[in-house]
Amino acid sequence: MGLYQEIGGEPAVNAAVDLFYRKVLKDDRIKRFFDGVDMDKQAAKQKAFLTMAFGGPHNYTGKDMRKAHEPLVKKGLNDSHFDAVMEHLGATLTELKVPAPLIAQAAAIAESTRNDVLCR
């Protein structure tokens, strides 16, 4: 069984997306990057991100990641902000009582996007 099925598939993503997005918006370190965005569109993007981190189906490429985050990098997005998001991903999954080995797998997938997200 793949990670996506083990974590619980789409229902798990749905359960995670509100928790995760709320943590991100409450975080003074990173919330400014979300100023003025359309929240419905952003929630859908968070869902796409979590689906990818959970090993689920997606068509994102490294190029898509770069293009999407380029304006944020210009606003100063760096490793510390990426670390903050990783923290919230872990905390969300812990809150949902996902077993630690699965959290580690999801974190590794998210971590693999770091260089693309930070455009380097």
């Binding site: 749905n14 509100d18 929240m39």
Partner: protein
Amino acid sequence: MPKIVYGGRSFESGTASVLDTLTSHEISIPSSCRSGLCQACLMRAVKGRVPARAQLGLKPTLVSTHHFLACSCIPEEYMQIALPDDAMHTLFATVTRLERLNRNVLGIWLRPPESFDYVAGQFIRVYKDETTSRPYSLASVPSLDDELELHVRKVPGGQVSGWLFDELRAGDTVKISEAMGNCIYVPGQPEQSLLLIGTGSGLAPLICIAREALSKGHSGPIGIYHGSRNRGELYLVEQMRAMAKKHSNLIYVPCVSEGDALPDCASGMAPDVALAEHPDLSHWKVFLCGNADMVKSAKQKAFLAGASMRDIHADPF
């Protein structure tokens, strides 16, 4: 092979998605993940059945108003499609009554043709001429009212509102669009608490959603918070109070944000008053209608107060 019609052009879809079909004809539709997740490629079916797969993950309000994701939609039959807020059809309605609801808000009642169909909470566009139109929310409820009711706020220098205020007369015929929008009440959770927040003529969709919910037997609490800068800009206050008196699960709180406190109104911006009274919105459904900046900030406040993004519906204007 099923045909799709978009923007007046017709396409054979074959086994490709709507997004791929349109893109291959060099029609640009917003899109991103192409996996049915990011919802960037949201479209609306004006005619034809939407395959269930193209609606996976959408809010129930979007599903019941025939929205779908272009990247996941492989048409099974003829479909006429549009971007979410693009009006496709126009029709003519007769003005039956006009009434000033206050100095700046005009109530307009229209008799639409029989073919006109809408869901409580949707809006229509009203056309002054071929190229000039504005969206107005409907205050009427299809199962309760024969006529359409609009609340038009007079915008200083506004082309359409100025024309409606100064020139429209009972008996006139006006061109309107089909109903659009997804800030609607979907039955199924009659015990859920509903928070309805609006400013200015945003009262129209709130009245409509509340009446629709009550007529469908909604038993959970319904709170309506209607805000204006001053007392004179509120309207239908007595009618709203009477409605709240009639239904024990309905409360109505008029809010005034400027000037001295008034005995019969709450002081402050409507979202702030509502959130102070209901700090925990977990499991609530929230409707936000009115000024775009108010809607934007209230959406974030409601979400941070615990409402799920799936349960927050907005109609900014």
